[in-house]
Every structure is written in structure tokens, then in C-alpha cells.
Subunit: 516 residues, 2 copies
């Protein structure tokens, strides 16, 4: 208030204009990680209760097959019953007890605490996930095998994109024949490229110890790791319908013991491994994840876990997966409501394109499910960017474009603010009765320009005339340029010393690194 420095006083229009062109403080940006959703509810309150009831029935009456010995011990020890058919059936009282123990309002930490994800209420976070076995090359339309370099580059790109909030490893590095090497290098490349929360998925329990050692060294010791675990593990602990996945269960137990948050992932496919009706597919996914909640909390009460109902859709004409369908968007949004019913941190998949290339089809497929997931208040929106060919292909140009799409999606999640100033007709009165008859240049308009409106980085809003004058820029060219610029400057996020030590200790392969 008492600032009378010449600089301040010489301000006026030019200074205000200069101020508006500066990057915005995260606190006043129109969108940010964690915006609360919940505006959209595909299920009625009664539907939610009925789905919960049916899921509890399924656990009591059908149960899950093929529990590994450790899971049998943990689950029956808690009160589940193994039948003569070998299936583990879970009484509803046990589910309710374990729900009472389950961790709520968890934070998924990031190496940079500014990127922590607070999974409370209907807070929404958008990120990548996997595990594509192809990279999509936009110039040659080639679907080729991904490498560690691709994963590292993807991580550095995500690091640069404001509207992508976490990095679950989107691709499988196909140059590794040995799973232990794959798991180590995946972790290294992801953490070297981004300080946002990282998700991975270990292939075998035997690989976990070395990976945890790597994480301890990155964190600066086991205590530091356990205080702020910045990597979570995605566990496909069930093979729908209602069957445990032995290896993944063992991995999960190892992760939990190492203090790593887990994603309890049930990935059925409606019409194939899950029931064809959308509602029943949700029932099955919820039942499976509730079994996971019992499992985790019987082993380690309150261990951070994400309720990962990820039902997918089959194109029932072919049995193939269709992640870009309207049915997929409904499945995901309905799951978000179930998570909210339990008050548990939850995640599901949205933003998948069936399109092979980043074309118009990809745009509408990715957008419909992302905006519905966001409006429904899904905490963790996995697969939100870059995914093509129903999860078979990952595309870096699409990732960069997806950041613009997610900006618009997140603006929608933020919603319509109806605060006192915005419901007052004072500005209208002054503009219409006394003023210029339009709102251009009005103090309120200028003030809201950057805090209420979000602008794309690559997407083009010019008029046809301007577009021709600019030489008719093509969307993909803009994406390629932005990708190249990020990869040119995107930092390697380990210090040279730490990096050298990790490479030596874990015999890591070489990588074309960004600047340290």
C-alpha cells in the first residue's frame, strides 16, 4: 500500500499489460491439480446403494478364486472363508470392518512436494498410465516398440506440461528381455525425467528389493523414502472375473512392506471378462476392489491404496477393447461415484483413444471420457493423455496436444463461480447506462483475463484470414515443435553424482540425457 518506488508509480497501462503477460502464479492460474469435481452424477443415490449391495453379495456368494497361499492366510486370518471349491468368500461384515480401517484422504507424494496429489473428496488429477507396447510415430504412422529412451522422454515432457499431474509409466521398454532389468530401468528413467508422482508396475516380487534400493538412494535413504514415497505401484491383483492374480498379489505384498502406496487395479472388460451391462460391470469391479481393500488392510491397516476400478469396454462386434467409447466414459464416471460412496481415494481410466493417430476421432474420444471423469470428481484419472489404439500405442505429439485438451477439461471441472461480484449487475449498469456499451477493456474484463480464462499453447484460435496469413499452420506441426523444444531443454533431474552412483550400482544402460 505504501509502495511509492518510482517503478511502481510509473506503472499505468504498460505496466499492467506487462504484468498480464508474465506467467501466472500457480495459486491464481484458472486451473490446477486437485480441482474438485462432483457436478455430474450418472448414478442416483439409490443406484449407488444397489451397486454396493450387489458387490457385497458377489463377495459373499461367489468370492474370488486362486488366492496365493499368502493371501489365503491373510484373508482367512481376518475372517474370510475358503470354500471347498477353493474360493475365498468375504462376509459383508468383514468388508465393512476393513473399510473402516482403510486409509482416506491420502497424499500421493511427488519428489517435488509442489506436485503432491491430495486424494480427498472429489479432487481430480489427470495423468498418464500404461502399458503401451508401441510408440506412435506421427510422420511415418509407424507403430514401433518403445525403449527406455522413449519412457524417459515421455517423463520429461510430462514434467513440462502444467495440466498433466502425474506420470504412471505409459510404455513398456521393450529392449529388456530380463524383467528385473526392465523394472529397474523403468523406475530410473521415469524418476530421472519427472519430479511429479510416478506410477510403475513391477513384474515380479523378486524384482522389488533392488527397485526399492534404487528408490532409497534417490530419496536419500530408507527413512526419507518411507516418509514421502514418491512412487506407487499399480497392481493388477485380480484377473476378472473374480480371480486373484498370484504374481501380482505377491508384488503387492512386497510393495506394501516397502512402504509403497498401491493401486488396487481391477481391469475387466465389459462383455468379455466383465458383464456386458454397464451397471453389472461396475458391480464386479467394485466387488474385486473391495476384496483388495480387505486384503491390504488385513495385511497393513491403513496402508495407502487407490481403489482402482478400471472396467473397460469391449466392442461387442469383435470382442476387442474400445476405450474411446461413450460406454467407457459412463463406466468410469459411475466408478467415481462408487469411490465417493466409500470415501476412498479412487482411480479409473479415461482419455483413451481407439484412433491410431492423433486425429479428430482421437480428439473426441479422449475429450468425452476425460471431461466426464473430471466432472464426476474422479481422484486419479489414469490414461488421460497420449493413449491410442485402445492402449496399444503411446504418442508423444498427442501427449503434448493432450495438455491443451486437459486445460479445457480442467476449466470445465473448475465450474461456474457464482460469487457476489459475479452476480452483481453493477458492471452491466455502468457499461450499458454510462459506459462504452461493451465490456472490452473494462477493468473487470482485464482482471479476469488470466485468472478465469485458460488459453491453449498449441491449439489455434486464429480467424481463417489470420490462419492463411500465418501460412495455414498444422496442429501436428505445432505439437512436433513443442515436443522438440521440451526434449531439447528438459532437464535430467538427478545430480551428476547421484546419477553416476545409480548407474554404477545398478548397472544401468546408457541414455541420451537432458541437461543436468
Amino acid at each position: 500500500m505504501s509502495d511509492t518506488s518510482p517503478r511502481r508509480r510509473s506503472g499505468g497501462r504498460a505496466a499492467r499489460r506487462e504484468a498480464r503477460s508474465r506467467p501466472l502464479d500457480a495459486a491464481v492460474r484458472p486451473v490446477r491439480p486437485g480441482l474438485p469435481g462432483g457436478w455430474y452424477k450418472p448414478l442416483s443415490a439409490q443406484d449407488v446403494v444397489r451397486i454396493n449391495d450387489a458387490a457385497l453379495d458377489a463377495l459373499e456368494q461367489i468370492g474370488l478364486a486362486k488366492a496365493p497361499p499368502s493371501a489365503v492366510e491373510i484373508l482367512t486370518g481376518a475372517g474370510a472363508v475358503q470354500g471347498n471349491d477353493g474360493r475365498i468368500r468375504i462376509p459383508r461384515g468383514l468388508v465393512e470392518d476393513m473399510l473402516a480401517r482403510a486409509a482416506r484422504g491420502i497424499t500421493l507424494c511427488a519428489r517435488d512436494p509442489a506436485h503432491d496429489l491430495k486424494l480427498t473428496g472429489t479432487n481430480t488429477h489427470f495423468g498418464t498410465a500404461g502399458a503401451a507396447v508401441h510408440m506412435v510415430e506421427v510422420d511415418t504412422w509407424e507403430y514401433r516398440e518403445p525403449t527406455m529412451q522413449d519412457l524417459y522422454d515421455a517423463a520429461r515432457i510430462v514434467q513440462a506440461l502444467d495440466n498433466v499431474h502425474f506420470f504412471q509409466r505409459p510404455v513398456v521398454c521393450r529392449e529388456f528381455e530380463d524383467n528385473a532389468e526392465l523394472d529397474l530401468h523403468t523406475l530410473y528413467a521415469a524418476c530421472a525425467g519427472t519430479s511429479k508422482h510416478v506410477g510403475t508396475s513391477f513384474t515380479e516380487a523378486a524384482n522389488v528389493p533392488a527397485c526399492i534400493s534404487l528408490l532409497h538412494e534417490i530419496a536419500g535413504g530408507e527413512a526419507a523414502w518411507r516418509e514421502r514415497p514418491f512412487v506407487s505401484n499399480s497392481n493388477c491383483f485380480v484377473v476378472p472375473p473374480l480371480t486373484f492374480a498370484e504374481e501380482s498379489c505377491e508384488v503387492m505384498e512386497a510393495c506394501i512392506r516397502a512402504g509403497m502406496p498401491v493401486l488396487l487395479l481391477s481391469a475387466g472388460q465389459a462383455g468379455a471378462t466383465a458383464p456386458a451391462p454397464i451397471a453389472t460391470a461396475v458391480v464386479q469391479a467394485v466387488a474385486e476392489c473391495l476384496a483388495g481393500v480387505v486384503y491390504v488392510n488385513a495385511l497393513a491397516p491403513g496402508h495407502p491404496a487407490v481403489f482402482g476400478t478400471w472396467p473397460f469396454v469391449s466392442d461387442l462386434r469383435t470382442g476387442a477393447m474400445s476405450g474411446g467409447s461413450g460406454e467407457q466414459a459412463l463406466l468410469t464416471a459411475a466408478c467415481a461415484q462408487m469411490h465417493q460412496h466409500y470415501g476412498l481415494p479412487g482411480g479409473a481410466a479415461a482419455g483413451i483413444a481407439d484412433a491410431k493417430l492423433p486425429d479428430m476421432q482421437a480428439g473426441w474420444e479422449q475429450a468425452i471420457s476425460n471431461v466426464m471423469a473430471g466432472l464426476s470428481g474422479l481422484n486419479m484419472i489414469y490414461e488421460a493423455v497420449g493413449m491410442h489404439a485402445s492402449l496399444m500405442g503411446f504418442c508423444l505429439e498427442s501427449l503434448v496436444l493432450g495438455n491443451d485438451m486437459l486445460g479445457q477439461v480442467q476449466r470445465c471441472v473448475r465450474g461456474v463461480e457464482v460469487r457476489e461480484e459475479f452476480i452483481s449487475i453493477d458492471v452491466m449498469k455502468s457499461v450499458v447506462l454510462e459506459g462504452p456499451g461493451h465490456y472490452l477493456g473494462h477493468e473487470q474484463t482485464l482482471r479476469l483475463m488470466q485468472t478465469e480464462y485458460i488459453y491453449p499453447e498449441i491449439a489455434d484460435r486464429s480467424s481463417p484470414k489470420e490462419w492463411v496469413e500465418k501460412g495455414q499452420p498444422v496442429l501436428l506441426d505445432g505439437a512436433k515443435a513443442r515436443k522438440a523444444a521440451i526434449l531439447e531443454s528438459g532437464k535430467h533431474l538427478f545430480s551428476p553424482d547421484l546419477d553416476a552412483s545409480l548407474v554404477a550400482r545398478f548397472a544401468l544402460r546408457d541414455l541420451q540425457r537432458g541437461p543436468f
Copy 2:
């Protein structure tokens, strides 16, 4: 039940498969015109009341300028007050009286009654609107002037697209220098190409009589026209902020007297001709349309009118319109809630791309606002397909692709059915405990394949391998082929006699007609 014909009995799998490949009856298609929305509410109940209050304040305290003499007479005759500043101010009691008179649950007729639009509750209908001054050529990227032929072709394409429910004239036929000729030919080309509901916008009141004569002849006489008026007129009766548009008001009065439903269109642009805050832009649009409701119902109580709050968004960096923004999607969805508050049939704009071409940007821009408009339960979703460059360009290939996008959007609007069969775990039990362990080929899966799931016509869902084997088909090529096929076979919908009579009587220019 007693059908024992050999044909029926020889059925089995092949017959069932054949039955599944037949086109579905409209009644069992997974989507259809008029699906109810309302799942998504960007405004709280209190917000809605506050916006209504502010709009009534604006009408009482600010009022509208530049009413033409006829409007002054009609409005002051009903109880509005003209101030010394010439503005017409409307007491809230008068607004409430006229709201009580206003037509509700109206049907916008189509020449083919199967395409009638029933605007009740949260029923949703998606269609085109205008008025682009360019056609977008996808091969040359040219933005060229549209002709009557383009309009006619667009109408024939819309006629063939299941998920596009009405045809408001999307382009201005630029070869006509005389407005009277433009209005006549626009009407002729639209009605010759589609039997769905047609929207137009007459340029001057003087042109209305000839156009109405044309409609009488198409309908088979004035009485038939008045019984089922199959064309509505879009009236930009206000120039925001809060100023009447004299010519458009005169056109509207002429249309009302001729028995034509009207669209009361307020098209402000937030940050330019409307306030920058989203909520206040809605307040202004609602105020303007309420003035329209008073105007229409004072002139002709209960005359069918669509409450057309169409607030647009400015890119505040440039002042240019941005129809593809998240802010636009929020504005439109919030308006739908206001329409529902008044219980009036309502319409607004969604589906606009700022992208110049049907690329990935176009896909996400069109999809975000369309799905939010549908989920919000907007009765008339104008501009839903084919629109590029912030309404400057219309693209026939994009129109064809948009039909696939709208199919997915409409599937989302249909929602998650939670009926008894879908909440039962019986199928799950039989598949898991007794059956094959998967749902492929299950009777329920096959039964729901076509009634619960919607499939795209052009969008590609094949795997990368299949896609390569098919020669890597490009999305736009599919759109071009579909467009060509429709234009090849798309019928001219007047009989040769009627057509010849119209051409002679109204001196209509020549057209490359589809088959009679």
C-alpha cells in the same frame, strides 16, 4: 409364440447372427432424438435463483434500448415502462405474468413427423446452426464462399445422419446479392434436402411473405402449414448488451403472425458484448431472453418460442470469439439449467471448433461442449456438428464425422441403466461358478450388443495390426467416402411436380439435384 414356420425353426446361430446385423428399429437403438439429460448441474439451486434475481433486476433497472415502434407499443401496452432515456424497463411482475403464459412442452415439427422434436423437460436434440460464410475444403484447406448447392448438400447429408436431429441453415449462400432471393433459396434448398426440422433466419421482414408462400405450397396450403410448421426462425432480436435489433424484431413479429415458431436468440460474447464473468454473462443472456418472452407473449400469448441464451466466449487476449473453449461449455450448460428453472424449451450453442480443419483440436473442442450440453439436458443443441473457425467455416466431412462423435455423446446422455436385471449377480454367478469364466457369447452379452452399445460408422476401432493390414486407413478418407456416397444417393425430397411448380412460381435458380 406359435410360429412354427420352417424358416423360423431352421434359425439357430446363423439366423440370430443375421438378425443382429440388420438395421435396428428406432425404438431399440441405443440412442435416439430426445434422450433426457440433466445428470450434470454446473449451478447449485441457489445459484439458479440468484441468476434469475439478477436478470430480473437488470430488466427493471437497466432495461433495453432501441425498441422499434411496434415493440414499444407491444411492451408498454403489456405494462413495461419506457424511460426518458428511451429504454424499455420491465417490472418483474410482468416477466412473471408472461412466463405463466409462455408455451411449454412445445413440439418443433418436421416435414416427416418421425423427426418431430419434443422440447420437454431435459430432452436433448443435436443439430446444425449457422451462419458460416465459408465452406472448409479438406483437401486444399481452402475457405471458400458457400453456395446454395452447399446448403442443399449439407441438408441431404443431415437427412442421412441418425445422430443429427435438425437442420438449422449452417451456411450463408453467398451468390445472392439480393436478400429476398437469399431467403427464398435458403428455404427451398434446406427443405428440398431434408425432412427434419429446418431452422432459418430471414434477413428482412419484407422477405417473409414470399417465403411463407413457399412454405404454404410445400405444406399443401396455409392450414396444413399452420397445423405443423416445420420451419422455425432464428431471431437475433437483441444486440447485446441489452439493445433491441430493430430489423430482427420486425422479422420476428412477421414470423409470429405467420404461425412460425421462433428462436429468441441472444448471442453476447463474454468479455466483449457480455460481462467477462461466466455467471454474469448468463445473467445478461437470461435477462435478454426474458425480455423476448415478454415481447412474444404480449404479442401472441403461448406462441412457440425457444429460449435462446447463446452466450459466447471471447479469447480475451484478442477479443476474438472462442467457441471451442471450456468456458463456452460451461456457459452453455449453465444456460440449460436456467431454461429448466423456467420450464421453458431452451437452446444454446455447443460443438463449435475453433480449429480450422477437422483435426484433433476440432475433436476435443466439439466433444467437450457437446457432451456437457447433452448431460445438462439442453433441449436444442445448436452448432453441434461441422462448425469450424469459431463459426466462420462449415465442413461437410466434419459433419459426417460429427455424426459418430454425437453417437458417443448421446450414449453418454442415455446414461447407466440400473434396472433389476443389471443389478442382479445371477449372470456373474453362472459365468464364474458354472460357466466358461468369461462373458463372451453369453446370451445377455449378445442380447445387449446392439441395444446398449453404439458403434461408429467411420471412426476406426481396429488394432494396430488390423489397421496396417487394411492399409492404414485415414479418418478423413472415410469421411470423404461417406459424404460422396450420401450425395450420390441422397434424395431430392420434393415430388417432380411440386419442385417444378416452386421453381416456376418463385423463379428459383438451378441446382444439381439428388434423385427424386
